[in-house]
Symmetry: C2
Subunit: 316 residues, 2 copies
């Protein structure tokens, strides 16, 4: 894999492979491990208070001199606090999601920060471009966690974003192998963002029970719950199946919020309650068979990517 | 595009590009046009009585000496009648869908017919392989028409089928460009099955209103309806949105069957009632911008495919 394109230039990285910011999963350890392999690690601020985020950034700076970034879900009430920390600590790459980047972009750009926004459709991609984002992550329906209402899959979303936008497109949703990285780049993406595969590594702070549950998942191990209040892709378990059952009998929004309750992601992903926690994961779970160190995952990506291209070359 | 693999060998075709059998869309004209370009055309028996199927097969035989096939939805009450016609007319390729191929496979194989079954998951892929099918079509959630309950997308389904099966895998769902064909082959598929793009050609028997409606669709122009009685992906219109609305208020199966009524596909796709018909189409609709002759579509596939590989080669 020898890639020099707008994404590697923008982020100053060797490989256009980005580790997704994931709640309770991607602290400094995971981010640093990915950045040290030549990709881009992201600290996921979604499950961190501003002070904890500062701590993680400071630790990351001590452990790597490679670029890394922070993912900030903009719907967080204290999003502007998180952004202040990022600026203060001199982080130069921010991935924003779940919300509109317009509100914060001026401040970020003023501080010379590259802003990449996560979008589920062409409409939001265009908005991100108009707001001044440097790139977008197009995230397909197969992705874990929170999902767009339009359910556009990676295979269909990426080529349309590439066609409609001038800024570079990074593909996300369902990607866990080097062959899929090659597929995403064939679609016109200039990089990939990978979540679940990196969640099941030694360096991920997810609970071992969560990691083992991903490995067991198989092709149909995830389900979309809470369509009415915002789609969430999770592993099937008592909790998610209860939510889906309630939706089938037309539970209203209040009931669904009650079922969701509080700290579900922490309970499942961090504390390891695989029955009652929200075990957010992508459909790529079915492709993940072992817990590995990040370096091994990375080497595999590159080997599989090269093999895929080797086989495609014979078809031309 | 120079491909010689198990799919081109099995079907005796130049390019591993198969035109999906589609109700009210793929008669002998479309199938012959695709086969004459070096792909594989399929006559869609789903909307044909046995006598009409016979007529279409006979016309196809007069118009091409290239291989073509017939798609048979096995849930049809008269599926065995359709199969009799196929055998009698000497068709040597049958694609089966919507049902279990086991019941018919012995008779088909006895008559030296290649059988390819359409599957939405690894479980059904394995069943097809065990039944003696020669290949499977793995069809992702983004595909038009009837869909699997597990909602597995093309990006995630294909690599898992390739890993779990010994027989060749053909990728379907969301594919409408040559770059996507390259992506599907990067995932390990040995061919592609393409529906909606071929439905919007001169040779397709779909109504002009249907074709124009696909062109307008955009990235979020399709929706899944009738989850309770079997998922169907259609263009958004009065009919499909009414169904989805009814489901939100928990309509039961009987009500949903009433809403579906009768001859919805014929009404929309063949008669051109774009408000009240079921306009089955894939998420790839957003990538389709014009009605073209099949030959032009085919040439574009090959050009885009070669370009995709050309750009990937530089990344190795």
């Amino acid at each position: 894999m020898k890639i020099k394109n707008r994404v590697t230039d923008l982020l100053k990285i060797q490989y256009p492979i980005i580790q997704a910011g994931m709640v309770w999963v991607s602290g400094y350890k995971l981010a640093v491990a990915v950045s040290n392999c030549g990709g881009l690690g992201l600290i996921g601020a979604g499950s961190m208070k501003p002070e904890l985020l500062r701590e993680h950034i400071q630790k990351a700076k001590m452990k790597t001199n490679k670029p890394f970034g922070v993912n900030i879900p903009l719907l967080r009430e204290d999003a502007s606090e998180l952004i202040k920390v990022v600026i203060k600590e001199g982080v130069k790459i921010v991935f924003t999601s779940a919300g509109h980047p317009g509100k914060f972009i001026e401040e970020l750009k003023k501080n010379n920060i590259k802003v990449i926004h996560v979008v589920p459709s062409v409409k939001y991609g265009k908005k991100a471009e108009e707001s001044g984002c440097d790139a977008v992550v197009g995230e397909g329906y197969e992705a874990g966690g929170h999902n767009g209402f339009d359910e556009i899959t990676t295979m269909c979303l990426i080529p349309q974003l590439v066609e409609e936008l001038k800024i570079p497109v990074i593909a996300a949703g369902g990607i866990a192998t080097g062959r899929q990285i090659a597929a995403a780049l064939a679609l016109g993406a200039e990089g990939v963002q990978i979540g679940t595969r990196f969640a099941v590594t030694d360096e991920s702070s997810a609970h071992i029970n969560y990691k083992l549950k991903v490995i067991e998942a198989g092709d149909n191990g995830t389900i979309i719950g809470f369509r009415k209040i915002g789609l969430v892709r999770m592993l099937k378990n008592d909790f998610s199946l209860k939510a889906v059952e309630a939706e089938k009998t037309c539970a209203d929004e209040i009931t669904l919020r009650e079922i969701w309750g509080e700290k579900r992601e922490r309970l499942g992903i961090f504390e390891g309650d695989v029955n009652e926690g929200a075990l957010e994961a992508g459909q790529s779970a079915g492709l993940i068979k072992e817990i590995l160190p990040v370096e091994k995952v990375f080497n595999r990506f590159i080997k599989e990517f090269d093999e895929a291209i080797e086989s495609l070359k014979l078809m031309q």
